[in-house]
Amino acid sequence: MKKALATFVLLTLIALGSNRLLAQSGGELHFCLRSEPKTLNPLLAADDASETIRYLTGGVLVRVNRLTQELEPELATSWKLTNGGKTITFQLRDGLRFSDGTPFSADDVAYTMQQLMDPALHSPTGDAFRSSDGKVETEVLPKNHVRITFPAPIAGLDRLFDQVAIMSAKSPQKELAVLGPYFVGENKAGSYLILKRNPNYWEKDPAGRPLPYIESVRLDIQQNRDIEMLRLTRGEIHFINSLDAEYFDKVVAQDPAMAHDAGASLDSEEMWFNQVASSPLPSYKKAWFTSTNFRRAISESINREDLARIVFRGHARPAVGPVSPANKFWFNAKLQAHPFDQKSALQRLSQDGFHLQDGVLKDRDGHAVEFSVITNAGNKYRERMATMIQQDLSGIGIKLNVVTLDFPSLIERITHSFDYEGCLLGLVNDELDPNAQMTVWLSSADSHQWNPSQKTPATAWETEIDKLMRAQASTLDPKKRKADFDKVQEIAWQQEPFIYLVNKNALSAVSPAVHNAHPVVLRPQVYWNIDQLSLTSEVARNR
């Protein structure tokens, strides 16, 4: 009996001891992708899932630290901007190898840049570097230096390299040879991916142990968020990267330690009216939508506080403009969210000849004000917001029809046929720098949603925005750029081509088994420090 007890104690001790070892390395991290990655080519990654794979596998020259929002060295140990912001020179780390053992050199950087800037590739990452026509030149310099020269200065150039995963020029594995913490070990299309630890990853922890700690990452493709949530509560997955508000509350109720609210994110939800002159709308409706008073009145009739409180259960805040307050440097702090004030709204409307008649708002010519807002189907939050706005607007005698459409139909309406009146969508924004919003604000751009691809700006204020956006892009002086972009924000606030509704909070849930997780606002919220994460013993042992 005694002997048995001793054996038991011994075994327990061994088990505990080995657990402690495991706590630092090994195990399989498990989480869900919401769709299949469209490509494993890091240069073409555009969807969420592909970007996740790129983040976990790609090695980049420099990395934006998602917590401090500062730029940090990765494959490059240092870098320098010269030539008025047209040229950047990197000093590369010596003696690195790709996941398949191919040595890494400046040639790989040159190859990657050449691939990336190939105009036939149409890479969204590459397009971010394309400020003007002309060739991008990459020179391989001695002592592992590489110099890249662009035809024109690019504001915030160095930060753009955070998105450029370096590919091997020589490896037979092509894009599957990587420099990041993991490599794609298994890819069962439509079902799951398994990423294996890259044995050649360059970084080590302060104790000299190789990173990353976690042996492998399993990504299950799981579109259904309810099932994802269920699996989290069961302990089958370790975290949910971006959590919906109602699930967040559920997590809080279950285990507050798992829930993380990092505050307002950079993403915004907004609504806009179709101001395209050639659209098939009747002319009186075009007149409404191009009227600043009309747009301002609609904006003032929407109770943003209620949207944030009810639809997002308090995990959102009324939006002010194109820049979220979370973007500390670029946000124009002088601006406030438009208050809910239907009296003022009616006053504005009366300036344009609108009047209430038996509780129905009519325009100068007696047309009852009725319009539709389209939004993408399947997004509960947008549908709910639209329904709440419907009731808000009925308060000033406007009949709003909410129409949910599947995404391709919606895109066709807002980009091709322009057969829509209002649209409610969200803008996903990862970039802090306003240059990333260039294509949204330039009146000639395709992404200038309310009236895209204009030959000459339709309004004076759009002319002004064009001028300011170009001005901020052509200088490297942060103060001057900030001043210009502040003005853009002010004009946008006054004219409201986009009626900004709310900024959602960055919500996530992380199992206590994951160590060293510090969810942040910037994507990828939970696993931005993937190489530092580790799993506790129980989980590591179970795997």
């Binding site: 971010a128 579109q223 995404f407 391709p408 919606l410 000639s444 395709d446």
Partner: protein, 303 residues
Amino acid sequence: MAQPTIIWKLPAEDIYTRSALPKLAAKILVTVLIGGFLGATLVRLAPGFGVDEEELDARLSDRSIQALRETRDNEPNLFVFYFRYLNRLVHGDLGTSRTLQRPVLQLVAERLPETLKSVALGLALGWSTGFLLAVAIVMSRAWLLDLLGGLLVGVLLCLPAAVLALLFVLAQAPARLLLGLVVFPKIFRYSRNLLARSSALPHVLTARAKGLGNVRVLVWHVLPTAAPQLLALLGVTVSVAFTAAIPMEALCDIPGIGQLAWKAALGRDVALLVNLTMVVTLVTLIANSASDMMGKTFRASEA
């Protein structure tokens, strides 16, 4: 023994002649091709064809967006488009999926087995439970059982598929079985009604009155009368199961052709959709022709 009221008289059908099979194959081929063409037409005419979610990516330059629009196979003439497709098909090329950027043949080959497995399991489950329950109810003539059966089927019909899927996950049951629950109500309902009618026929009642056992009545009198319709039902349930696989696989993230079809639909991926329509048409036709043939053979042997 009572005379069966319904006597199967078969005009000399051509099912036994040698030319029947090639003829059937030709008919199936033509129908499948028409199916592909109609499928392509439906997709082409739907709004959102030729646009891409990526066009909303603000990072893309205008030139890239234009290029993106130009890469579409925007052949305006449907017949030209379909002819080109057929031409490639003859050369063994099913085209490339635009959304997944892989050859369609590869995608279908990868995923069809998953779906076939689900459909087979679902049908096995649906038929074994639905049909047996119907037989039990009709033969026992217990109204309480009938009531409960009706209620169970009612519950299954009324639960949205998403809720069922979630319940399956909660119970940690394999999601494939879900398909069984989707076809079960149909099988049960139809077979119960058909069997009930057959068992109410005069000759069955007489047989019963003469003291024939339940099993004998069932095997000798009830089933033969209802067989052609039940076989037709079998054929129909195959296509029902296939169609039901689309939302089921999309909900449960099973990588079969249902999930593929759903993605293809959302992405207006015409190459993929044409092929999937043809696959589904083919399966439907084979299932229905087989059940038809069995029904006719059955009648022939009865005659």
